[in-house]
Amino acid sequence: MNRSDGNIAQPLAALAPADPEMRTAACHRASALEAIRLALLRDLQLALRKRGQLVQPLAFFAMVTLLFPLAISPELARLRELAPGVVWVGALLGSLLALEFLFRDDAHDGTLEQYALSGQSLTALMTAKTIAHWLLTGLPLALMAPLAAVSLGVRTGALPGILLAVAVGSVALSLIGSIGAALTLGIKRSGALLSLLTLPLSLPVLIFGARATQLAIHGASFVAPLELLGALAVLGGTLAPLAAAAAVRISLE
Amino acid sequence: MRAFFDMGGYAAFVWPAYAVTLAVILLNIFWARRALERSRAEARRRLQMQREVP
């Protein structure tokens, strides 16, 4: 594993020994929670080395937000009307772009195979990877959303609500996206296919999220759609890692 | 008879709708049969190749 340095190789070895005889022994070395923690830390450490890559989805989000005033009108009053849609479409497309990073490097260098063979619950490891992915992409997108909203004429009072909605929604998006990413592992130039697979499944998140944002902008209570977003995130959290793990196994066969 | 084709003034919508559906039905029949033929030809070809290899 040429990407690991000494810091990571040791716990990873505890996580995923290739030798089948050692597998049983290793299972006693790391509990499921340990495994999640190690995988999570590993992903975070490795991603922070390639900081440039993390900026791409954010830059894309900013670009998309720029496109709409140019394409429609610079009048803030009109843009305010469109703000929920623009913010969410931008965040959704940004998160789609970021999905490529989820499994690409690990599939490339064999780490994913190690995970599958490690004897650890692949579902737990998928959860860890998705959490890491959200922290690296979804959360930054959520932090950027208020900026995008301000540029579209949204009043500052609505911004916390927007941040919250996109934060919760992006959790669901990362989870849903992990399934498509796992299914398209190893397919060359799978970007368009991945989008085609993920977008229909993401529509409920878009609908509830945009509605929550719209209510926040008008100063009304956005609790109802936010709860629905939360429900989607929880549902995704329980089912998506399972599906992603199964999909990874299929892709590695 | 003319009244039938006129469809109460909606002829421009009703008949194209039926035409499209008929087209989809016919396309499916043609497509399914062609897929079967292709599979049979492919299987025949594979068998021939297997016989040629000692």
Binding site: L197, I207, A243 | F4, Y10, F13, A17, N28, S39, A43
Partner: protein
């Protein structure tokens, strides 16, 4: 209870022969039902008090929409069986369903649009049903795209099966959220027919068309299934007999 007939469904040569024999038993009744339905719907049924003769599009739109959803559920069911019991035949069924379902989804969308123009004054309307049909089309295209994108046939079977199962779980969620979204914006009402209940003269042709389309689907499925089963049996000896015939 003798379950041999069920176990034999896992055997490709048996399924191939069975499909070949059964096709005509579905194809001809399908043609009959559709012909009868057309006669009833186009000629015999009285015009709707609101929509006049325009409502007759129902007799092609409703069966198409029914097909799009029914075929997807069948596809997902077969996919699940293929995944759980690792049955090649089940995967062959799922693969056969996809093009049929996708084409009827397109038919449903086009006939829906043609119905919309005289009724609502617009070819497209973002009502829950049409919007959900559109999403269903993308689900089909995604499935077919994934199959096409994976080279290894077994991996393609299993990955697309996974996608179909995930999709079918999402269909109710998507439909609910689209309906919720639509109700917020108080969009004009969806195509409605003479309420309360449809008179028998209108209902019976509709049922005949629904039945006819379903039988047609089975006939198509059986035809495509034979090809799919053949393609999955690379070196089996039973192919020799079949191909010579």
């Amino acid at each position: 209870m003798n379950w041999t007939w069920f176990h034999r469904l896992a055997s490709p040569p048996h399924v191939y022969a069975l499909a070949a024999r059964l096709t005509r038993w579905f194809a001809w009744p399908a043609a009959l039902c559709i012909a009868a339905g057309l006669w009833g719907g186009l000629v015999l049924a009285p015009p709707d008090y609101l929509q006049g003769d325009g409502f007759r599009i129902l007799y092609v739109h409703a069966p198409s929409a029914w097909m799009s959803l029914m075929v997807y559920v069948t596809m997902a069911g077969a996919a699940a069986i293929g995944l759980i019991w690792r049955m090649k035949v089940a995967h062959a069924v799922a693969a056969s369903c996809a093009p049929i379902g996708a084409s009827f989804t397109v038919a449903a969308l086009v006939t829906g649009a043609l119905w919309g123009q005289p009724m609502w004054g617009t070819y497209w309307e973002w009502d829950p049903r049409l919007t959900s049909e559109l999403v269903l089309l993308f689900l089909y295209l995604g499935y077919m795209g994934l199959r096409a994108g994976i080279e290894d046939p077994q991996r393609a079977d299993r990955a697309s099966a996974m996608l179909a199962v995930v999709g079918v779980v999402n269909v109710p969620i998507i439909h609910y959220s689209v309906t919720w979204w639509n109700s917020l914006h108080q969009a004009p009402s969806v195509m409605r027919l003479a309420k309360p209940a449809m008179p028998l003269g209108m209902l019976v042709p509709l049922l005949l068309m629904l039945l006819g389309f379903t039988l047609f689907f089975i006939a198509l499925l059986l035809t495509r299934l034979r090809g799919e089963v053949l393609a999955r049996e690379r070196t089996a000896s039973w192919i020799r007999e079949v191909v010579r015939a």
